[in-house]
């Protein structure tokens, strides 16, 4: 009854209306951002309409452009430029880019047998990713023009037929295979990496948020009680200190999980919205690269991922959850100790720093590189941070590297036991009231010592 009473109180303190509104708002914001950014990226990738200014009236150019339009089902949108002031012209026509085929283009290639210029004008709107995407997709169109142009030259200048041109154009048939940990699948590595990148970003992000939220919550809960002296009132009541400690930890875990769930859903939608267009683009490109006869071996990305062992089994999920739980428990135990040292709000902020650093280092390292590829010294330093093992757990479980997983788990269990022992020691002794960390005080002391030394 008393534990339930304490837990209810802790949850009421942590899950206020404002906290829940903030969680929902963040999730909705991420979903909306994903849609907005995804829409902008899809627009950037859009190759269905090419804005073209054709200043050449030769038959060669006309035939070539017809084939360009037919080759990809692309609609050519013709515009007329009134001057060479491209900035003003793009603004006037309200277009992002334009391909200009100058007068004499056909004549130069067919009659003079000389390469001719094609101009491509693109407007950079800002430094954002979507802005450069329209340039990338337009470049794709230019390479199509180049390809069709080559066909026309071969056809008209050298009298080759369509079959000859096709053979020259596609002298090989690319069938892509990807291997991973001894397993092979007939799937494009680029298509695969786009999907795994999305997965590998969501999990660490959720771990990151979960850890920071839980740690900050418990630290604030303990320090606020200590500063407001409600802790003294609470601990002089007939209730076990371990019950108080347990209620705080359980409430922090529940709140953090709720936070992580909202953020995780929001972030997943954000990534899906943002990456969806990119994945579709890469997947469709990969499919096009695989000839029909080879397509028999490839059905889908998900099948390829299963073949390569890149999907998690229910047991793997349980193992990952176990390590996630241990990570949060370690974070909470450390935060309990640090929170008990707080004397005011300023010291709480300072005491949060060690946890933040320990959470951020493995987060950024594992996001951008493989820990195992680091030098031995750095590898051990990074692995000494207990949170690292949870960041790498998913990869280890996917890759079937169970030895590394179990070593990480055992290390975390030992680390948790030590931290919990210290936390209980702090909470059940005078240290809870006598331990303090005051940056101003220690700075003053140092200052005095320095002044005394100099006298």
């Amino acid at each position: 009854m008393k534990f339930g009473n304490l837990l209810k109180k802790e949850l009421r303190e942590l899950l206020t209306k404002q906290a829940i509104i903030s969680m929902v708002f963040t999730m909705v914001l991420l979903i909306v951002m994903g849609q907005v950014v995804g829409g902008a990226m899809a627009e950037g990738f859009d190759t269905s309409t090419i804005t073209l200014c054709n200043q050449d009236d030769s038959d060669f150019t006309k035939d070539m452009l017809e084939k360009v339009a037919a080759s990809k089902g692309t609609e050519l949108k013709y515009v007329e430029l009134q001057s060479d002031d491209y900035a003003t012209e793009l603004e006037r026509l309200d277009i992002k880019n334009v391909v200009i085929i100058p007068q004499g283009y056909g004549e130069s290639i067919i009659d003079k047998k000389e390469p001719a210029q094609i101009k491509f004008v693109s407007k950079m709107q800002n430094g954002g990713m979507t802005s450069s995407m329209s340039t990338i997709s337009a470049s794709d169109v230019i390479s199509t023009i180049e390809s069709v142009c080559t066909d026309e030259v071969l056809l008209k200048n050298y009298g080759l037929n369509d079959d000859d041109i096709k053979l020259i154009r596609e002298p090989m048939q690319l069938v892509e295979y990807t291997t991973l940990n001894g397993k092979t699948s007939q799937i494009s590595a680029s298509a695969l990496s786009a999907v795994t990148m999305m997965q590998s970003m969501i999990a660490p992000m959720v771990i990151f948020i979960l850890l920071l939220m839980a740690s900050q919550m418990i630290m604030t809960a303990i320090s606020t009680e200590k500063i407001d002296k409600t802790l003294e009132t609470l601990l002089s009541a007939p209730v076990s200190r371990l019950n108080v400690l347990g209620a705080k930890m359980v409430a922090a875990v529940i709140s953090a999980l709720l936070n992580a769930a909202f953020m995780g859903v929001g972030f997943a939608f954000y990534m899906m919205g943002m990456m969806g267009s990119a994945v579709n683009e890469i997947s469709s490109t990969a499919s096009e690269a695989i000839p029909e006869q080879a397509m028999a071996g490839v059905t889908s990305l998900s099948q390829g991922m299963t073949e390569l062992g890149l999907t998690l089994t229910p047991v793997s999920y349980v193992l990952f959850a176990l390590q996630l739980f241990l990570t949060v428990a370690i974070g909470l135990a450390i935060s309990l100790i640090l929170g008990a040292m707080a004397t005011d709000v300023k010291s709480v902020q300072t005491l949060t720093m060690p946890i933040m650093i320990a959470v951020m280092i493995p987060f950024f390292i594992t996001m951008f590189m493989d820990v195992n590829s680091m030098s031995t010294v750095f590898k051990f330093i990074v692995y000494a941070i207990p949170f690292t093992h949870t960041y790498t757990a998913l990869t280890n479980l996917m890759n079937g590297d169970m030895l590394t997983y179990w070593i990480g788990l055992v290390y975390q269990i030992i680390f948790f036991a030590v931290c919990m022992f210290l936390a209980v020691k702090v909470f059940t002794t005078d240290r809870l009231f006598t331990m303090s960390f005051n940056l101003d005080k220690s700075t003053k002391k140092r200052g005095k010592k320095t002044a005394a030394d100099s006298q």
């Binding site: 304490l6 009421r12 206020t16 002296k229 002089s236």
Partner: protein, 248 residues
């Protein structure tokens, strides 16, 4: 009258400190008695109170609360006491009534007792409909009244209060003093108070103990002490004991 609190040679030495914060302190508080522990800042009042409240451990000595040792039976001691720290706050996100319910829940063994405690708390604090509001919006006086109600609603054998009226205006402070006197007289509740306000102590206490440098110098009824030190008031007694270290 039976002693509710018997402090026997209680001492406390903090690690890395040369001197004892509390040095061999002994006194007792009887049923229905209001005992005040007074002394200058850093004298050892709060440390003594914290040891009796089982918040920190004594280096040596013991104290019996309703016959239970603070060293051997801290759980039993906590069932018999309530503690109101100096400048204590309450949970700002809770309403007053939720706070009383929460605290009563830590003492009550069944629903009937819990309801009885809460009803008592509501009557003592006198906050009426304001109890339905969040504590975050309470004035200092309202919070102190709520905390005092919390401290006495469970009918503890010993209520320990550190600076019970600090920071309160005259009217609120007077109300709280009257409340303490009434509870001691009518409910036979024992109080261990700590305060810097000598007028308050003179008004409310039956006996006082003057502590300085961790040592309890003198204990006695206020009138007896005034007579013993030939002093006009408690302040003069305090000055002679603390400043001149006179022990009579």
């Amino acid at each position: 009258m039976a002693a509710v609190l018997e402090v026997q040679g209680l001492s406390k030495k903090y690690p890395k400190k040369e001197n004892f914060a509390v040095d061999d302190v002994s006194f007792s508080v009887n049923e229905g008695e209001i005992f005040a522990l007074i002394g200058p800042n850093g004298a050892g009042k709060t440390t003594t109170i914290r040891m009796i409240s089982t918040l920190i451990q004594a280096t040596s000595g013991d104290a019996l609360v309703a016959g239970h040792s603070i060293i051997k039976e801290p759980d039993k001691v906590r069932e018999s006491i309530t503690y109101l720290p100096d400048e204590a706050g309450a949970y700002k996100t809770m309403t007053g009534i939720n706070y009383l319910n929460f605290m009563a829940g830590l003492f009550a063994k069944d629903k009937e007792t819990l309801d009885k405690y809460v009803e008592r708390g509501k009557a003592i604090c006198g906050l009426g409909d304001r109890l339905e509001e969040k504590i975050g919006g309470y004035s200092r006086g309202m919070i102190r009244k709520l905390l005092l109600a919390r401290a006495v609603m469970t009918e503890p054998k010993l209520a320990i209060m550190d600076e019970a009226t600090s920071g309160l205006d005259v009217i609120n402070a007077l109300e709280i003093r009257k409340m303490i006197k009434a509870l001691a007289k009518e409910q036979n509740m024992a109080f261990l108070l700590s305060s810097h306000n000598m007028l308050e102590i003179e008004y409310v206490s039956d006996r006082v103990g003057i502590i300085t440098g961790g040592k309890l110098m003198v204990v006695g009824k206020i009138d007896e002490l005034k007579e013993r030190y030939e002093a006009a008031n408690l302040e003069e007694v305090f000055e002679r004991v603390v400043k001149n270290h006179e022990v009579r």
